[in-house]
């Protein structure tokens, strides 16, 4: 018997080898440039990865395995997985051709894949299990020649793969169960938030948050808790001694598990003992029909439930839902509260025609008039008010932005500012020298430096390249931006560099033009907005929390709608707040909006009122179309470039005045961009190294 089994396996090996020869290739092929194209599968699909001799095991007998070829193809930026069995194997008479085609995987897009589970024991064969979003998993794909790691690395190059925090051998593909992760995937800021902290959610209730249970989303956990609370719960006899002994013996059982796994791999995978298979095969299956009938009954009940759900959906499609009335009427309020904003001035001639009483962009003459003989800003509130309502001419921004950002003190004189600039220029040179003096040999041993430099190099080459100041290759301004960001990562080593910082620096460098002064203006801005990039996301969560409070205060029907549709985390506004609308407006309008917000004229948190204003403008569409989280997120992202700046700022001003003290009270102290509350350390240290 043993001889016969071994001989049978040898024959199947020969058959596999012959099949490989027929296919014309027995080694792994990889086409990085993607020059080859497969006409048989897709018209425009590009072959990315190919692996021969990948098999599945329909039965426990190795002789009945089906060998095939595993492919990864890409078409229209979507990655596809295929596995096609080899043909013409006569040794597997037991399996018919129809059975073999049953297991074929035909170009499954990775958008339908939920996770990949790998099994790579020290002994025995490696395999991976691909799980779809529907819950179906394909049969394990056995890699007889190894290569699971290369396969996962190739997938990772084209799809966002995140190692599961619960199991080292499970890789999540575009985990859309987590709203925050879904938001970040849509934002195209893949490195702005570590995956591990995606589960930390700021408690919107302020007090208690349900404990996150393993292996399920928080929704399931909450449902379990509610079910157990509502139903009768059996009194559980708690035996601490038994729990302790169970826990202790569990550790020792791992030793046994290791020994058993090793032995089992040696015995069963090689199929060297036919008697074992024979004995297992004789095991009768007793209660299978009963079990299946139970499942069928439950499924029948589920079908009925799903039909009712479909009926509800149809009703929703047919009828148009009335939108609750807006508690604030914009037109009247804007007439009463919001002052009209003048269009930006483009011509000197037109400026001469305007009477002095009409507000317009601050000109050099006006700004000079605000300064006393020694250069102090006598009334900073007057300056900020003028900037708030009219903005700044571009030529004057270089003078005014340092005041708005806090680099210059309003009561500083010409001489003091000149001295400050010279001192800061030397300080900047010293800071810059810190990283410029790092030799390549030292860089090899300086992981954080290499990581940050890599991040910065990647970001600066794709920040505002459409803008003429930064366009073209070998742009000196791009080099300056890189130098400033790298210097900042050393100046603020605890915070380092995070994606999105280049979005803030780009307009500052454009306005200031000088590298040192741009750096110090950026430092002043990061003093306020640095918490946006904290690793624990505390700064972002407090702002999103404050935003939810403001929406609740200013538009409770909209707030209730978000509550009912599970959008109360306001993650769809994440990008607005993280980079303060940088990608929602064109460059010039972004600068106008920022200087309006930087005045802190009505509120330090004026940007939150801008968020509320935009949401109010879209409320009838959001509530009328009954947008869920995904639709709402897509809608918000598509608003980019379609928001009218002047009317939005006017609405935000009206909302800010309307909210008044209640609005200020709704925002927790220390919410960015308020200056941080005084702590010993600016940034909390984390022991784990990135």
């Amino acid at each position: 018997m043993s001889m016969e089994a071994t001989e049978l396996q040898d024959l199947s090996d020969d058959a596999d080898y012959a099949a490989s020869q027929q296919q014309g290739s027995a080694s792994m092929m990889r086409s990085d440039s993607g020059k080859r194209s497969l006409q048989s599968e897709h018209e425009d699909a590009v072959l990315i990865y190919l692996k021969d001799n990948v098999a599945i095991h329909p039965t426990q007998f190795a002789s009945e395995r089906i060998s095939g070829r595993l492919k990864l193809t890409k078409q229209d930026s979507v990655l596809f997985l295929s596995w096609i069995p080899y043909k013409g194997q006569t040794s597997n008479a037991k399996l018919s051709e129809k059975d073999r085609s049953l297991y074929t995987i035909t170009a499954v897009p990775f958008t339908e894949v939920r996770s990949i589970r790998r099994h790579t024991p020290a002994l025995g064969w490696q395999y991976v299990i691909v799980v779809l979003s529907s819950g179906l998993a394909f049969p394990p794909l056995y890699f007889y020649n190894g290569g699971v790691r290369e396969f996962l690395a190739m997938v990772k190059q084209h799809v966002f793969l995140a190692r599961s925090s619960e199991d080292q051998n499970v890789f999540i593909v575009n985990d859309f169960q987590s709203p925050l992760q879904r938001t970040l995937s849509s934002l195209e800021l893949p490195s702005s938030l570590p995956v591990a902290s995606g589960q930390s959610v700021y408690p919107l209730d302020g007090g208690s948050s349900s404990e996150n249970q393993r292996r399920t989303s928080s929704d399931v956990g909450n449902r379990v808790s509610s079910v157990s609370q509502s139903g009768f719960r059996k009194q559980k006899s708690h035996d601490p001694t038994r729990d302790l002994s169970i826990h202790l013996l569990e550790k020792f059982s791992l030793v046994t598990k290791f020994a058993r796994d090793t032995t089992t791999q040696l015995f069963s995978e090689n199929n060297g003992f036919g008697s074992i298979d024979k004995r297992w095969n004789n095991q009768p299956v007793h209660s299978y029909p009963e079990k299946l009938s139970n499942i069928a009954e439950e499924k029948h009940h589920e079908i009925r439930h799903s039909y009712s759900e479909n009926d509800l959906l149809k009703d929703d499609e047919i009828s148009y839902i009335d939108v609750p009335a807006d508690p604030l009427e914009f037109d009247k309020l804007s007439l009463m509260w919001g002052k009209p904003r003048q269009p930006p001035m483009g011509h000197k001639e037109r400026r001469n025609d305007i009477s002095p009483s009409i507000k317009c962009r601050i000109s050099t003459e006006y700004f000079t008039a605000l300064l006393d003989s020694e250069g102090r800003v006598v009334e900073s509130k007057a300056l900020r008010e003028r900037v708030f309502y009219g903005g700044i001419e571009h030529q004057l921004r270089r003078e005014v932005w340092p005041f708005l950002l806090g680099y210059y003190a309003y009561d500083s004189t010409y001489a003091e500012r000149e001295y400050l600039r010279s001192v800061k220029r030397m300080e900047y040179a010293t800071l810059k020298q810190q990283w410029q003096s790092i030799s390549p040999e030292q860089a090899k041993r300086f992981t954080k430096y290499r990581e940050r430099k890599g991040l910065i190099d990647k970001d600066v080459v794709r920040t505002d390249r459409a803008f003429e100041y930064y366009e073209g290759d070998d742009n000196l301004h791009v080099n300056s931006m890189r130098d400033i960001l790298l210097t900042y990562s050393f100046y603020n080593f605890d915070l380092g560099y995070c994606q999105g910082m280049s979005d803030y620096l780009s307009p500052i460098l454009f306005v200031m033009e000088d590298e040192s002064e741009s750096f110090w203006c950026f430092v002043a801005l990061m003093e306020r907005l640095g918490p946006n990039f904290n690793r624990d996301q505390n700064g972002m969560h407090t702002q999103l929390f404050a935003l939810s409070k403001l929406v609740e205060l200013l538009d409770s029907p909209l707030h209730n709608y978000f509550k009912e549709n599970d959008c109360l985390n306001y993650f769809f506004c994440f990008r607005w707040i993280l980079i303060q609308f940088k990608r929602e407006f064109e460059y010039e309008k972004t600068m106008q909006l920022w200087e309006v917000m930087w005045t802190h004229y009505l509120s330090e948190h004026f940007h939150l009122y801008v968020c509320v204003a935009v949401l109010k403008r879209c409320r009838s569409k959001i509530m009328g179309e009954q947008m869920d989280f995904d639709t709402l997120l897509k809608f918000i992202n598509e608003l980019s470039g379609h928001i009218d700046l002047d009317s939005t700022v006017r609405d935000a001003e009206a909302l800010c005045i309307e909210a008044g003290e209640n609005g200020a009270a709704s925002i927790p102290p220390g919410t960015p961009p308020s200056l941080p509350l005084d702590d010993g350390t600016l940034y909390p240290q984390e022991d784990d190294v990135l």
Binding site: L102, L136, A137, V220, A259, Q283, I295, S306
Partner: protein
């Protein structure tokens, strides 16, 4: 001679493959024919409800399979299904099957976690209570074996040290 060697290997594999024999005594086992039957039903299913029914049936068959890789596949499916849960009864069923899958693959920690959650949903489930008892008994048994292995290892090391000291 071959028969004698086979007998020795049988006894050794019996000792180490306690999971399979224990499962044979306590839980029904599925042959590969049943699994392929479920796969065919799934391939032929047309409407969505039927597909879900077949997926559930397939995951049941997989965690009851003899092959460890099938159990892993069933675990992977159930972990995806348990997230998409819609009702307490469905959740209990999936948690039970997930606990059983982990139990049969030897991962008793996760199995115990899942069965605890299953009992949270439905404390009266006799099936879940029986599985929990089996899990704890198994932990005790394997723990004792582990203690034996550890003590043996210490003894071997001590013996080697004594021999070195003697020479």
């Amino acid at each position: 001679m071959d028969a004698a060697i086979g007998k020795v290997f049988d006894s050794v594999s019996d000792f180490f493959s306690g999971a399979a024999s224990a499962s044979a005594d306590e839980f029904p086992l599925c042959d590969s024919d049943i699994i392929s039957g479920c796969e065919k039903e799934l391939a032929e299913a047309q409407d969505e409800g039927r597909k879900k029914e077949c997926i559930m049936r397939l995951s049941w068959a997989l965690v009851h399979s003899k092959m460890p890789s099938d159990i892993q596949r069933g675990i992977a499916m159930l972990e995806a299904l348990v997230v998409n849960d819609t009702s307490a009864m469905k959740l209990r069923e999936k948690l039970y099957l997930l606990a059983l899958g982990y139990y049969r693959s030897g991962d008793f920690s996760r199995s115990r976690d899942c069965i605890e959650r299953c009992l949270e949903v439905e404390p009266e489930s006799g099936q879940a209570q029986a599985l929990k008892k089996a899990i704890e008994d198994r932990i005790v048994k394997d723990g004792v074996i582990g203690v034996g292995i550890a003590v043996t290892a210490v003894g071997v090391v001590a013996g080697i040290a004594a021999a070195i000291l003697r020479s």
